[in-house]
């Protein structure tokens, strides 16, 4: 189901995307385009490899730069061209590929692209209607634009760490450096909006996206609350300001939990019934949110005492059937078995030449007329160099051999 069907080539069939950069935030953005049939060509080099290719590399790694599961999983259906940008011939090749590209995407530190003549002026001279997106941590301008951070820093700076955890403990942020997963979506939105605009105007655009700003934009409500009321939001564990009970409760087994969110009075009545109508649930005031919020700690204790003897998935089934928003806290093994994700074809098995069968992941959106999907795992470094230089730029085998001999294609 996850594989792209032959009769549905995807929304972006025929669209050419040239990608420079590394890490997660850049490649995840263009993965959305690849999932819908765009041809995405990545420029890489073994001289300065994408850090995801070396993330878990040890002396014992058998497949070197081609054996990183994280790289392979985040770059399905892309082509890799190895080009040494320290060689002038390498820069020339990339400039010619810009002429081929509808979209140029990069996430280097500001100034790197300009060094190769590939700032917006350079790009538009090569391809007047290009959509060019830059997506570094802090954006292309400003006093801190060269700040050398990864997603871990982005998440902290944008405010997500401060908001995640327990009020009496460290501000540690959600798992997975959230700006690395949030900002690619905004990159893709800006690119597709610019492509739509280009269909009307014939003009391209440069988009200067800061991963941190995309995070702060997402937190607009927090900014507004600070600006309007001077209220600085703080992490509250799993509690809600407006609803109670609202938390994560222990279940039977080791590290097993259920999330229960009583968002309104109907859900409270349903929960009380599902718990077997215990006496404590009839204390005065609990029928309304304000009363429940006032006695939140006590409700949490009572509910935890009940859930501790229960199996999390089975209890979630019962609570949902009764109309209470609830769900088991799922680990990665649970996700692989999740019937709803399976129904949506979330995991796409594809075989990688070195790593064997891997499970690639779809985005969270499905188009009824264009299902999309993936057909090939992330590429080996330089796997498509010959194909792209020959097929796209029309270089002969002799020319390619000559470039290779001069260490341009590494």
């Amino acid at each position: 189901m996850g594989r792209r069907e032959r009769d549905a080539p995807g929304v972006f069939a025929g669209l050419n995307v040239l990608e420079l950069g590394s890490g997660a935030a850049g490649p995840v953005a263009t993965r959305y385009l690849a999932e819908q049939g765009a041809r995405v060509v990545r420029i890489e080099s073994a001289r300065r490899p994408d850090f995801l290719r070396v993330l878990f590399l040890t002396k014992d790694s058998k497949f070197g730069l081609d054996g990183s599961p994280m790289y392979v999983l985040l770059n399905p259906d892309k082509e890799s061209v190895a080009i040494n940008m320290a060689a002038p011939e390498g820069v020339d090749l990339v400039q010619r590929l810009v002429g081929w590209a509808d979209v140029v995407a990069e996430n280097f530190s500001p100034g790197v692209m300009a060094k190769w003549g590939l700032d917006w002026d350079g790009i538009r001279a090569l391809r007047p209607d290009a959509v060019f997106v830059s997506g570094c941590l802090f954006g292309q301008t400003g006093p801190q634009r060269r700040y050398p951070g990864f997603g871990g820093q982005g998440s902290a700076i944008a405010g997500f760490n401060h908001l995640t955890g327990w009020p009496d403990r460290e501000a540690h942020g959600p798992y997975g450096t959230i700006t690395d997963s949030l900002s690619p979506r905004y990159v893709a939105v800006a690119v597709v909006a610019a492509l739509l605009e280009r269909r009307r105007t014939g003009r391209g655009r440069h988009i200067d996206l800061s991963q941190i700003e995309a995070g702060v934009y997402s937190l607009s409500e927090m900014i507004v609350r600070q600006s309007a009321n001077g209220e600085s939001e703080i992490r509250r564990g799993n509690r809600s300001e407006r609803a109670a009970p609202h938390g994560v409760y222990p279940c039977r087994g080791r590290d097993q939990w259920i999330a229960i969110a009583v968002e309104d009075d109907d859900a409270w009545r349903a929960l009380v019934a599902a718990l077997g109508d215990p006496e404590w649930a009839h204390a005065p005031g609990l029928a309304r949110a304000a009363g429940r919020l006032a006695r939140e700690a006590e409700l949490d204790r009572q509910i935890a005492a009940f859930t501790s003897a229960e199996d999390a998935p089975a209890l979630a089934d019962r609570l949902q059937a009764a109309g209470v928003p609830a769900g088991p806290v799922q680990d990665f093994a649970d996700l692989l078995e999740d019937p709803q994700l399976a129904h949506r074809g979330h995991f796409v098995p594809l075989r990688h030449v070195h790593l064997g069968e891997l499970l690639f992941e779809r985005s969270g959106l499905r188009l009824s007329e264009s299902p999309g999907g993936f057909e090939r795992p992330g590429p080996n470094l330089g796997e498509h160099t010959r194909e792209v230089l020959g097929g796209v730029l029309g270089l002969s085998d002799a020319e390619i051999a000559d470039l290779a001999a001069h260490e341009v294609l590494v």
Binding site: G142, A261, P325, R344, L355
Partner: protein, 404 residues
């Protein structure tokens, strides 16, 4: 960038940001509310703590760049208005439990045949179809079921979520992206389509391929709180927390050396630390006692400074250290200020002048940016129903009937 596109926004809070995003891209977004206002979406906290649906800060933040009308589409006089609005719309966004509009005969399945060009985006907790399509869940439940929560938090406490609803933040741009993809395809085919977004499924991207990696090696991850693997990542300062990775690898050697040199300037780098071999340091193999000794030294240094002091020096010395900012810090942030990320919008009716993030990306002509403050209840009824040919007299009658 999206000038000329009309979006009808029927969403609840889980989808407010999706419509705002399209509005900030220049689309004409019309937010629909029940007569009397969306009293669930216009929730607390309120401006200066005084309750009132026109003073909801969540509403002011997330329904910005939209116009607003009221309509009860389940009433007989409301139905033709809804159809009239649909006939003029390019996009509909619905967000909330699956099947609510469908049950009223106002969902995609019923209406699509009469509106072949319409792009209909449905944001639901788990997707429109499948064994859990009917399950209910807001941010807490879908973050729990999406895999992120289990690995977030301290090992000695329950799994935890972000206190702002990140599930909606992940889903909103994904919904907008699906809509834009569908509009792109409509340019070729002339036909609209359904965009089916699952809050749970969008959560999984936050794991950055960890489930796929897990499937290969079955090596379970555990919650590690303020640590990243074995070493501390979040450190106490005089006035808050900073993120600083005490991890090895060639990319971090210069960073660690620079930090020790800086500590030394303050007389806080003992001799063993000054002589420490960072090139040979690996957070994977270093003994526990060594980690403890290092963490005590770094921790003592960070604890003597404020977040700002540390960040300013980190910038100057190119050290990978970041403050765990709160909203106040962000509003004063020199980098964000220099890019004019924040803009002040006035709402004189409620005596408010509020700063908002203006854009998610910068581009020429301010093509991405806020368009107008959030609508008051029914603020644009006359304007938008006027397009359908309704007169002031008609509107009075519809108001009396409870339809608008």
């Amino acid at each position: 960038m999206l000038a000329g596109l009309r979006v009808l926004d029927l969403s609840d809070e889980s989808g407010f940001l999706a419509g705002k995003l399209l509005g900030d891209l220049g689309a004409d977004v019309v937010k629909l509310e029940p007569p009397g206002g969306d009293l669930v979406g216009r929730r607390a906290p309120y401006l200066r703590g005084e309750p009132g649906p026109e003073r909801s800060l969540a509403w002011l933040a997330l329904n910005i760049s939209k116009r607003g009308i009221t309509l009860d589409s389940t009433l007989d006089p409301g139905r033709p208005l809804f159809r009239g609005l649909l006939a003029r719309a390019d996009v509909v966004i619905e967000a909330g439990p699956a099947g609510v509009l469908d049950a009223q005969g106002l969902g995609w399945d019923t209406l699509a045949p009469d509106h072949p060009g319409l792009v209909w985006c449905s944001i639901t907790p788990f997707g429109r179809a499948g064994p859990r399509a009917h399950w209910r869940g807001g941010d807490l439940v879908v973050v729990a079921m999406g895999g992120n929560m289990k690995v977030t938090g301290d090992p000695d406490r329950p799994p935890v979520r972000c206190s702002m609803p990140t599930a909606y933040y992940h889903a909103a741009p994904e919904a907008a992206l699906g809509i834009l993809m569908a509009l792109h395809q409509r340019e070729d085919t002339g036909r609209g389509q359904l965009v089916d977004v699952s809050l749970q499924e969008t959560q999984l991207q936050s794991l950055l391929s960890a489930p796929g990696q897990f499937a290969r090696q079955r090596r379970p991850l555990t919650r590690s709180g303020a640590r990243m693997g074995r070493t501390r990542e979040i450190w106490a300062t005089r006035d808050g927390w900073v993120s600083f990775g005490l991890r090895g690898g060639p990319a971090r050697v210069a960073n660690l050396e620079a930090t020790v040199a800086w500590m030394d300037e303050h007389g806080l780098a003992p001799e063993w630390l000054r002589a420490f071999d960072w090139k040979g340091f690996s957070h994977l193999t270093v003994p526990d006692e060594e980690i403890e000794r290092l963490e005590q030294a770094f921790g003592a240094f960070f604890a003597k400074h404020t977040m700002r002091e540390l960040y300013e020096q980190a910038l100057a010395r190119r050290i990978l250290l970041a403050p765990c900012n709160d909203a106040r810090e962000l509003l004063e942030h020199p980098q964000l200020r220099s890019r004019e990320l924040f803009v002040t919008l006035d709402s004189p009716e409620i005596g408010a002048s509020i700063e908002h993030p203006d854009f998610f990306a910068r581009t020429s002509d301010h093509a991405i940016g806020l368009r107008r403050r959030a609508p008051r209840i029914g603020e644009h009824n006359a304007e938008i129903y006027g397009e359908l040919g309704l007169t002031a007299h008609d509107l009075e009658k519809l108001t009396a009937e409870g339809a608008i």
